[in-house]
Amino acid sequence: MTGPLQAVGWVVRRDLTLALRRRADVLTSLFFFVIVVSLFPLGVGPEMATLRTMGPGVVWVAALLASMLSLGRLFALDYLDGTLEQMLVAPYPLALLVLGKVGAHWLASGLPLVLIAPFLGLQFGLAASSLKVLMAALLLGTPTLSLLGAIGAALTLGLRGGGVLLALLVLPLYVPVLIFGAGAVESHAAGLGAQGHLSLLAAFLVLAAVFTPWATAVALRISLD
């Protein structure tokens, strides 16, 4: 029998392989991110000074929406083809398998957002050092979004109108990450340093990594009962 950590490794590899085979899904949410961010200058006008102050917030809100959109895929396909039930009866802690799935999901849909964010930051006239902080903040913040969102995805599994409902459940929980994520860049730009914000984002990530897989596992058991 394989050990639990090996099982998590398999879950991650399986989900990443699936994501690579369905590249269109990943690219769709990435393009959504790019399009939403690019719409803002069209809406508020091209003054660079305004855009520079708005930039971090816009990128973060778009990242929130994009990561929420991709959450629907986190469990839905495994739920439909019965894989999820096999995971429930597998001799490994479900929370651990959930952590693996969320990790793979972040690698496939969160990490691309982090990598493309600096280019979008350029559209908003952010300085090079601000872009670095933006990336660091996204790197720490987006995994927390995936972890928190997994609870909502598990709760709304197989419900009609699940997508809109998911937004209603998950977005209020994203508020602290949004505040400190966008705040990190602003505080850096204001010369106050981003250390405090980034530390708090890291703290959120640690808390979420410890507690949310457990809550997600409970929610999955409820949904598949």
Binding site: L155, G162, L165, L169, V175, P176, I179, G183, A219, I222
Partner: protein, 249 residues
Amino acid sequence: MTSESTSWTRYAAPAAFYPLAGRLIPWFAVPAAVLTAVGLYMALWAVPSDFRQGDAYRIMYIHVPAAWMSMWLYVVMAVYAALGLVVRTRLSSMMAQAIAPTGALFTFLALWTGSFWGRPMWGTWWVWDARLTSELVLLFLYLGVIALMAAIDDPRRADRAGGVLALVGVINVPIIYFSVKWWNTLHQGASIRMGAAPTMGKSMLWAILVMTLAFWMYSFVTSFVRVRAIILERERHAEWAQRLVDNRS
């Protein structure tokens, strides 16, 4: 009757709680009405007007109790949700479901009165004050729980899913509050701040306490009325519910 069934835990059964809730409703409804009347008299006539804010501040006697109740009811709802998840008593989950709309109502009331208070005081309907913002997020959390429970047809799954969400929310409420508070102080610097009255007169405090108690009694009444409806709807196939309906018609 065995001694076990005569203990108070027998009221955990919906069939036993249904008549009890019906009998309790007047005991909370009458105090709610009396306390509201007394509280409003104190708030609108007995208490002197503020020397800086004039009479406009009197909306505080609705605003503050509503805000307190909105937070308190969320905690009560989460406790019932936790009981429903851990002890698996159906009634606890029904109570959580019954409390949610009242909690959402008080949250909305707190936001609305806050806005009415802000207009004459700050000259604006809405300020991104820490307390206003976190109250708004609290409203979203309430609506999330209500919407999730409404979207699930199987009542057992609805109870437990709503319970998990309520618990996740209650852990998040303090985190959200402090995040918003720090964000607010970072952004707003020297602009308008919610200036609490430096010293609150004793009569003002009493008026607030009476109004809070009135709102609390009102919450009991609405929760009991609602939980009776939920029990009847879910147990409509049970024999006792059938008999109840037959007797009534």
